[in-house]
Symmetry: C2
Amino acid sequence: MEFKVRFSGRAHRYTDEEIATVARAMQDAEPLTQGGHLAAFQEKFRAYAGVPHAFAVHTATAALELAAELCLLKPGDEVLMPSHTYTSSAYPFAKRGAKLVWADIDPATRVVSAATLGERITGRTRVIVVPHLYGFCADMPAILALAKPRRILVVEDAAQSLGTEIGGVHSGAFADFGVFSFHSHKNVSTLGEGGMLAVRDERYARLIPALRHNGHCDFPSPQREYWIPAMSNLDLPELDGRRLNVVNCCLGEVECALGAKLLERIDAINADKRRRALAFIDALADRPELEFHRVADRRHNYHLLAARLATGKRDEFIRRMAGVHGVQCVVQYYPLNRYAYYEKLGFGEASCPYADDFFDNMVSFPFQHSLGDAELDYVLGATRKVLASL
Amino acid sequence: MEFKVRFSGRAHRYTDEEIATVARAMQDAEPLTQGGHLAAFQEKFRAYAGVPHAFAVHTATAALELAAELCLLKPGDEVLMPSHTYTSSAYPFAKRGAKLVWADIDPATRVVSAATLGERITGRTRVIVVPHLYGFCADMPAILALAKPRRILVVEDAAQSLGTEIGGVHSGAFADFGVFSFHSHKNVSTLGEGGMLAVRDERYARLIPALRHNGHCDFPSPQREYWIPAMSNLDLPELDGRRLNVVNCCLGEVECALGAKLLERIDAINADKRRRALAFIDALADRPELEFHRVADRRHNYHLLAARLATGKRDEFIRRMAGVHGVQCVVQYYPLNRYAYYEKLGFGEASCPYADDFFDNMVSFPFQHSLGDAELDYVLGATRKVLASL
């Protein structure tokens, strides 16, 4: 189908300055991976997000895999998360033998809350994964108040919420692990793939460089010469007596140079998106059947612009938006329990009526940052016409 | 230590045209991952290397992880490989429960041969990993003649040997799996990280796109609309009744666009390196104590320029090259069994006298493609002086 306004898999354009940054790093970086740009990006990110330690990795999924590895899951451990999220929030834990327990979302915010999580906590709950979906930071203070006394580890999946905050604390900076994404869809992207893992615990921070890079680490005693006993060491990282699996998920120097540059623009992009989202939402205030989640402050970056259509006519809405007006709306976050992947693992059942209802009635509008004002106006006009026609 | 000539972690410079290719892809690619540049790179690579199926991934390690996953290892299975290689050739198999068995290298070629592998094959040998180390293609016809009648899977680790061939067949195109690298050190690099997995078996080829990308695959029956039942499907890949673990190791579009462009230059880079290596080797023909592996045809791309110093004075040679002349030689491929990583896994013992001897007496000269003629002449002059002084 040919669309006039597509739901793009790419969120933003690069400025000339950003392209020049990449060209310069292509010329100057030596080596092209694991060098000075990595260190500089991590340091700049740490300062930006207010996190104690930050490690750039190839994808947010890789960051979630590292977090899952560090959670030291044992058979029977339960990992609690919403069914309404992207698969990367979940499968690294399933892969390590955890029992996934699906929590419902709050119908107003479309993310998990202390209430929806609290009713699923058991004595075996070892980890809670909190995706700040759509770019809205879940109520982390309340969730931590629930988790900490029970010694439950908390992973914030802040893949969509970079730059959002509650009370001056950034999403991803509240919990044991904060996962960030620079994937093509995200508000800023390091050439299509990229991620960051933030941790608070020094023990994790000491292990991650080796976990991320094939087990490379210092020799137990200083090398006698730079090549003796060898150029570099490899060891098996251990945490609390458990051996951890290493991987190779390093982010290249050029991507890191670009990532550092993009951090200068993320607040402006978020502000643009928030302003446009609020204008779009307010322009449809007379159509209350389209239920948006309106948040006027930095707690929401409107990575995505999603609404619930209360009339039960969602599919016809999307059909007409596409067929009559050429606007590609999409539907997001098929409840994970409905995928064959999770059914086969025994996680096909969920009691998450709000997640199901939201998925079955939601619509996500084209909202990439690169969308022109005229295009967004066109989407708004089409929305009004289709709502009127239904 | 400050060096006049460093052993660089970066193999080559980018041309203006290559930088322009990256700038163009940054502007045009949509999405920035899993799009048209990926498909084009894979197709161009397939044609270049003469492989039936090729899948771009984030690193050669990721390609080895996928290969190891597809090998369907069972407890007790043995995986045979040289101790003289980089760790990524080995640990994906150890991680999956295989018993690693170390084969020796051939002292003339410094890679494994049918003879060195043959003496370690048992009834439990399930996989042989053949690294074409230094850029020299091992004797694949002989190795396959050994493996195939025994139904042993063969993985070619062609990370260093892109573009080399025997009888017109490229390294990486002989065996069940061919692994290629575009890491910073390699003869061509996709911005520091990148890899490719080539396979012959259609069953593998059908599974890899889902394995590489979080389990994404088609729905079993066509979608009723583009968003029904969801935008995309997730399933658990299975091979011979075994469930496989998915990962996210996609290579971004910009890297793929660059990779496709670099394929136009790899033969020229390889030819340059071979010409320079042969000249360097021949200029030292009067110093037979420095034993090079001289190969004048496309079977060797001289990714690295390595020699054995037969006098037992290797450490003093490197010390003087560095201290007196400011030339950074290095020592490569610490036998894997000597690392704490493999010791702790129970693979600390090896009976590989040639691998040990080569490591203990070898020197690897600075040989990145970006080295100027004057610098390489300087290295040659320093080498002559140090050899004379010893």
